[in-house]
Every structure is written in structure tokens, then in C-alpha cells.
């Protein structure tokens, strides 16, 4: 195994490597000329005022490159032609969906061409008899959910951005969400893919078979690879029978550590609720101030537990959860009165990051730990906040061990970036010390690639680089991301 390319020099501001630069022959216009002559129907933007909207994702603190252009393919054939041309001209390609990503996986690369996949937004099939859907990558997550719902089915992965993020982006990042604790992440929902490779050839992996072991599992290699190994142009996704209506339990605690202890207890008790979300005091107050929900503003933490097990099983599940919360010192335990209120609470949880942003510049982070280490991780975050003298809100999918420490800084703090960098380094170190991960569900992108070797080890990264070099020998697919 050989390392295909040395690391790019680090970005002075963020401590992460810069985007790979474009090769000399890309900027001479011949690539764009060929693109428009070969693909006259392809919409291409090159005016920087127009391409600007497609340079960023939800990582305003990162520094995207300036793209040669932005194009909007509408078919697999167009994607193939674009990739072949880019390979000939050594032009980097950046596939992207709605730009809701939180690790910079979709930010523009200097001298590259960005492929906005939102035009390939057809739900090709809801195959109710096989419990699956076949979709193009530009389909909005929530739209797939609604289409499945018309057949009494549901699509489980539900990132907070589900009303606007695309399935293609979800696949690229292996996105999580609130329902993962019971139903798994995006990877668990993927049965098959159509992928355009770096040489323009197109392959199909998997299909509609729920069991299929012939050859290597390429499907799961492409999921989460952020467009660095191929461009996903179609996906076959698992749907599930629509679960029963949810019952919701809210448990309030004096301290976040007690809430964390309750999460660990519920896990140990074998509870697999449909949702097990945590909000700390800071986040509760921010959510309540922004959305006026009447939450207990004096509480130190809150757990939201939901069951969709149906009937007596759901009652039993919440009873078990309430008992665990009580044993861990819950100050109050309330059942949500009606489904509309539960929907509202869940939406409030999804808007936690937005709510914290009302208090200043909020940067959401994303770490994970083995579930029983949640109390220790929460304690470590508190310690970092105290050490750095900064506010760090915490919320997240506690039932998965996946927490979102969110750094909240004054808008005019000139040292904000440096202080955030110090805090995240300390939080990542704590997560790794606990056997955790520096990215639970937000991907690697640009934001986390500097931590890849620390977590995975040099030899594992060498394997990843060897796989990358094998599939993309010219390095044109989303360079500077993941690796």
C-alpha cells in the first residue's frame, strides 16, 4: 500500500490542510469550453457572483476554494460525461446536495467544478411490496418520508436538516438523526447504489435484495465517503412499516451528569426507544427563549424519550425509562399530553443549534462515545468549558452516545476561532480517551480530517489512502476531503 499524495500544507487559520489546488491546465478555459460544447444542455455557472452561493455548506468558519464553475447535471449520462472530461483535464470535482453539511464535505475546491445534484430529484419508485424506494440523489429527505408515508411506510434516517437536506448528501456523509437510536444511520438504510466512478464508468452495487453477499461490499464503502470515491447517482433505500404513533416522556434533572447517568442506565436496562435525546440547561433555556415552550428553565438537563413500540409495549417502555430517570434523580417526569405537543418538542430539539445561535456565534460540534461513557463525556465538556472560560451548550442523541457540544461565542470576540480550536482539541482528546469518535454523524470533510490519524491510526489511514488511490488514481474526486 502506498500513500498516493502527501498532505497539503495546513491552513494557518483552522489548523487543517488547505484544499488541493487546481492543476495548471484547468484554468485555461479549455475545460469549460469542452464542457459547454460536449454538454450543451448542461446548466453551468461561472460568474463568481453566481457560483458564490454554492461554495459553502453549513461550515462558515472553513475557507472554500474558488471554483472554475458550478454545474447542474440532470442525468447519470451527464455525470459520466462530466467526470470523463474532468479526468482528461485533471479538474477536481465536488458533488454536493443542499449544502446542509457540517464538516465541509461539500465546500468548493480551488479550480474545481462543483456538481449540484439537486436537479436529479426524482423518486423513481416506492416499491411497497419490497419495502424499498429507488431515488435520485437530489431528493429531499423529508419528501422521501412523505412519499413513503403514502404507502404506510417510513424512511428512518432523519437528520435535523431533514426538511431541506438531500438523500445524496445523507449518503455522502452517512448522516444520522433522532431516530438512529432505534433504526440505525443512513448506511443501515442503503440496499444499493448507482455510482459514477472516477473514470466515468458507472457501476451498480447491491440492489433490492436484503441479503446479498456476492463479492466485496462496495455499497457500504461508498456510503460516507463524501464523493471522494465516486458520484452517487441513484440509491435503493430500505423502507420500514410505519411504526405506531409515538408516546413521549420528558425527564428533567438537576444536573447534566444525572441525565447522562439515566441514559447509561436505560441502555443497560435494554431500553431501545425511538428517540433518546438530551438537552443541557443552556440549550433548554435557549430553546425555550426562542420557541416559548414553557420548559422548566431551572432544570439542569432534560431527556426526551419516545416510544413507537405501540400499545402496551410502548407503555412498558416509557415506564422503564421513567423508572431509570427516577433512580438517577430526575426532579420531574412528565408525559407529553398529545401528539402535536410531541411533534413540537421534537422540532424544538431539532432547532437546538439554531436556538443557541440566538445567544451568539454558535458552532455545533459532534462527538460520540460508547453509550455508558456519556456521563464522563458530559463531565469532560463541562470541564473544558470551565477551563476555557467559554459557554458550551450540549444536546444530542444521547441514546447513541452522540453529543453535540456547541461553542457559543460573543459575536465580536476576535479570539473566538482560537478559543474554539483549543476547546475542540480538548473535547476531541477527551472523546478519544473514552474510546469515542471525533465525528458521530457529521462526517470528516475538511473540519475533521486533521484528526483522522489520531483516531484511526496511521496504518488504517494508509489503507484508506490506498483505497482512494485505487478508485481515483488521478485524485479528481473531491480532493482535500476525508483524507
Amino acid at each position: 500500500m502506498s500513500s498516493p499524495e502527501p498532505d497539503a500544507p495546513p491552513d494557518a487559520l483552522t489548523g487543517h490542510p488547505r484544499q488541493a489546488g487546481a492543476p495548471p491546465d484547468a484554468a485555461d478555459g479549455s475545460f469549460l469550453d469542452r464542457l459547454s460544447s460536449d454538454l450543451p444542455d448542461l446548466r453551468v455557472l461561472t460568474d463568481p457572483d453566481e457560483t458564490e452561493a454554492y461554495r459553502h455548506d453549513e461550515t462558515p468558519y472553513l475557507h472554500p476554494g474558488r471554483p472554475l464553475g458550478v454545474c447542474f447535471p440532470t442525468s447519470t449520462g451527464q455525470v459520466q460525461a462530466i467526470v470523463r472530461l474532468a479526468a482528461d483535464h485533471r479538474v477536481p470535482l465536488v458533488p454536493r446536495g443542499a449544502g446542509s453539511g457540517l464538516s465541509g464535505g461539500a465546500i468548493a475546491v480551488e479550480g474545481g467544478l462543483t456538481l449540484v445534484m439537486t436537479g436529479m430529484d426524482a423518486i423513481l419508485e416506492i416499491d411497497a411490496e419490497n419495502l424499498c424506494a429507488v431515488v435520485q440523489p437530489g431528493v429531499i429527505n423529508a419528501e422521501l418520508g412523505r412519499a413513503a408515508g403514502e404507502h404506510g411506510l417510513f424512511y428512518a434516517p432523519d437528520p435535523a436538516s431533514y426538511e431541506w437536506c438531500t438523500i445524496g448528501g445523507n449518503l455522502a456523509e452517512n448522516s444520522g438523526g433522532l431516530r438512529c437510536v432505534k433504526y440505525g444511520v443512513t448506511r443501515d438504510a442503503v440496499l444499493g447504489l448507482e455510482v459514477v466512478l472516477a473514470d466515468g464508468s458507472v457501476i451498480r452495487t447491491g440492489g433490492k435484495n436484503v441479503k446479498d453477499v456476492l463479492g466485496y461490499d462496495l455499497t457500504h464503502l461508498f456510503v460516507g465517503s463524501e464523493g471522494t470515491l465516486g458520484v452517487i447517482t441513484e440509491a435503493t433505500l430500505r423502507l420500514l412499516p410505519m411504526p405506531s404513533a409515538r408516546l413521549t416522556l420528558l425527564c428533567f434533572f438537576g444536573t447534566v451528569r444525572e441525565a447522562g447517568q439515566a441514559v447509561a442506565t436505560m441502555t443497560r436496562d435494554g431500553l431501545v426507544p425511538a428517540t433518546l435525546e438530551l438537552l443541557d440547561a443552556f440549550t433548554i433555556r435557549a430553546v425555550d427563549a426562542a420557541l416559548h415552550l414553557g420548559l422548566d428553565a431551572d432544570a439542569g438537563a432534560m431527556l426526551m424519550v419516545e416510544s413507537d413500540a405501540g400499545g402496551t409495549a410502548a407503555e412498558a417502555e416509557l415506564e422503564l425509562a421513567a423508572r431509570a430517570a427516577g433512580a438517577c434523580g430526575a426532579t420531574s417526569i412528565v408525559r407529553s399530553a398529545d401528539p402535536a405537543e410531541a411533534d413540537w418538542l421534537r422540532e424544538a430539539r431539532r432547532r437546538a443549534h439554531w436556538s443557541l445561535e440566538q445567544a451568539g456565534v454558535a458552532r455545533m460540534d459532534d462527538v460520540g462515545v460508547p453509550r455508558r461513557r456519556v456521563p464522563e463525556m458530559l463531565a469532560a465538556i463541562e470541564r473544558v468549558a470551565a477551563d476555557q472560560g467559554m459557554r458550551i451548550g450540549v444536546f444530542g442523541h444521547a441514546g447513541d452516545g452522540n453529543l453535540h457540544p456547541t461553542y457559543v461565542m460573543d459575536r465580536d470576540d476576535p479570539a473566538a476561532e482560537a478559543r474554539i480550536d483549543a476547546a475542540r482539541a480538548a473535547i476531541y482528546a477527551a472523546a478519544l480517551e473514552l474510546g469515542g469518535t471525533v465525528s458521530g454523524e457529521h462526517g470528516t470533510g475538511v473540519a475533521k480530517r486533521g484528526y483522522l490519524e489520531a483516531q484511526r491510526g496511521g496504518d488504517a489511514v494508509r489503507v484508506m489512502r490506498a483505497v482512494k488511490a485505487a478508485l481515483d488514481p488521478l485524485g479528481i474526486l473531491n480532493p482535500g476531503k476525508v483524507l
Copy 2:
């Protein structure tokens, strides 16, 4: 992407490629000398009378090579040293567990060294609070199940050979089982691995985090790769809370197609039972003759449906199943009277292949189709049996679309191999025509590699070869398997 090596010439008997031969410098004894001097504590067998027991798996119709030797590593460090030495001497390595495989993934390679991993059989940890186990590859599947059970937990994947197959073999083949319809296959149960690579370095993938998206997902690449990309020396596996006791329903039908229709109906109705197994008339009679269960010997087919949903949910699930069976023409529907009887029936189903073997030489095959195509696949198997004038028993995990057509031949039929080859070619063609797979859960090994390109397509196989070449550039890891 480049193809690392041309296909080996086909084996005249089976139509599949022969094992790669050993390079000239392996057989001169220097490799074995170094092995014993470098690793004096390593048990090594070289006498052909002793190594014979480790040449085969459960594919007596395949033709293994003659190994240089068979060794029994007891630590990751020993495996590393063996791999490094083998790389120096270009000696092929074949890792194996109990040899229960059904596709030849573990059969010996000419001039190679077989690594019997059964000595690395420690359950290192049952981490009840994180719902996971850390095990060495030689642990028997059922022993892990029993150890988990002591903590009120269970390990879901349960191949029919669960009482003697190893976790390492399950990982290598991505094994399935009876419970997959609800709980997924081996891949779905793997959180992390320790793997010795082709250069002797050791990596860890994943860990105890249920959500972890940093870098490429190597875990799922190694699972199902049959030792061709690395040697798995440890695994972290997901455990689940022990489900409720099972309720069992047996549905008898006049024809196998009606049973298949009932499976499709149950799937469409959103039923996710813990078990949904099908036995055809031939298999029912064989099982009953061998085990004296008092099954309806006149039935054309039987479905075994189990629910572990607990309480009223389980009752509702079986009620739904019974209604679907009735609507599809079930001739009788009976509830199993007690748990012991259900265990007995499940064991009978697991012994279906063995029961068919009482009727002659039985070769179990393994195809999968999208679930609603089960009736069509069953019809195709009937057609092939009629066309070839042979007996083909069918049983399998119908709820997964995974069927085991089993060719039963007279013991003295000289044309048996040729007739089986013709039948399997016709059955695979039918499965692929229905969007299915030629291997639902038995792996690729040697038995199915000839069909890899037909199912996956040339470009996808090229990607697999590129991955193989990137991770094992010398081609020493289980050559001639999968690819």
C-alpha cells in the same frame, strides 16, 4: 484501476477457476524452516495425513489445493509474524475457522499455509452497559450467544451451523441465519474489527461507538471479504436486549407457490417477524422422516412464523401472519403449543439440509431475490427441477427472499455433477432475471466466483480487484477466493 492478475484457468470439473499455484520458492522448505525458527511456539502441521482434515470446508464437491502446512496461531502477534514471513516468501495464506463454510472460502490453496483460527477463542469482554462483546475470531457462535444470555443479552446472527461455526468464519462470509429477517446479518452486528493486513501491520476499525463516521468505513469492507483483504483477529459485536419468548405459528399450504405468495403478502403488510422460514413438500417429508415431528406429510409447503415482539404485540403479529396465510390458501394454521416444541421445530428447520442428505447426495445452494419475487423464484426452481428431471428440495429464509434450493442426487449417479451444474446455472439465471443474487448468505468463495461478473458487472468487479490489489498487492491473502 487495473486488474491485478488474469483469471486462473478454469477447473475442468466444476467450471470454476483453479486455485492459484504456489510460487517456486515456497516449496523449498525455507519458508517452513523460518516459520519454526521464528515462531517456536506456533503449532504447525505439515504431514499430509494431518493437514488433510483442514483442506476442506462443507463443499466436498470442490477441489482444494495441497497446503505446505497448517498452523494454529494463538495471538495477533503470531498472525502478524506469519503474514510477514509469508509475504517475504510469497506463500499464500488461508485463514479458516471451523470449516462450516458452504462456498469454499476456507478450502486449502496449493502450496499455501492454512491458519486455523480456532485457538484464538476468547470472549474478551461482554460489555453489558454498552450492549456489545469483544471476541477473538475462534469463538463459537453459540458460545457467544450463551455468554451474552448470562447478561440478559443476545447475539442475533444464527447460521444453521451456529453450534460449531466460529465468529471469524461468520465475519469472513457475512453469514446469515434464521433471525436475519428481523435482526440483520453478521455485517449489521459488527461495530469494529482488529485486522492484520497483508504487510503484517495491524489496524483497528470502528469500536464501541454505535455512531462513528470518521474516514472510510473499513469495517464493512472486511466483513464478507473471506480473508482476502486481511486476517480478522478480533471483533467488537453488537448485542441486543434479550427479546421476549417466541410465539410460533405453522402454516401449511397445498403448493409452494401459495406459501411464497403468503410470504410476499406478509412483507407487503409490514410484518417483520423474528423468523419466517419456508419448507417445501420434499423438505417437510425429509425432515419428518428423519426427526419424527408429526408434520403434515401431505402438505405442499410449510411456513414457520415466529414473533418475539412480546405480549399483545406478538399476538397481533401472528394474527396478521395467520390472516395473510389464510388469504393465500393455507390448508391448516396451527400455533405451537409450547416453547420446547418451537425449539424443536426450529432445530428441525436448521437440519433441513442434513435431512435431505438422508435421501441421497444433497447439495445445498443459496439464492436470494427481492422479497415479493419469492413466488416467482419458487416457480423457477420447480421448472428447473422438471426440466432437468431431478429432485430439488427448497427451504430457506423466505422472509428475506433467501432460498436454499437443494439438489438431491442418487449416490451412484455418474452424471450428478454435470446435472447439478446445469441446474444451478438455470437457477442462477432465474435469480438474476428477477433482480436477485446468486449468493444470499453463503459467500462467494470458489463456488460462486465464476458468477461474480454476471451479477455485479465488469466495472464493479474491476473496482473489487482494484481494492484487492491496493490492500494485498502480492496476492498472498486467500488467492482464488471471491475474485
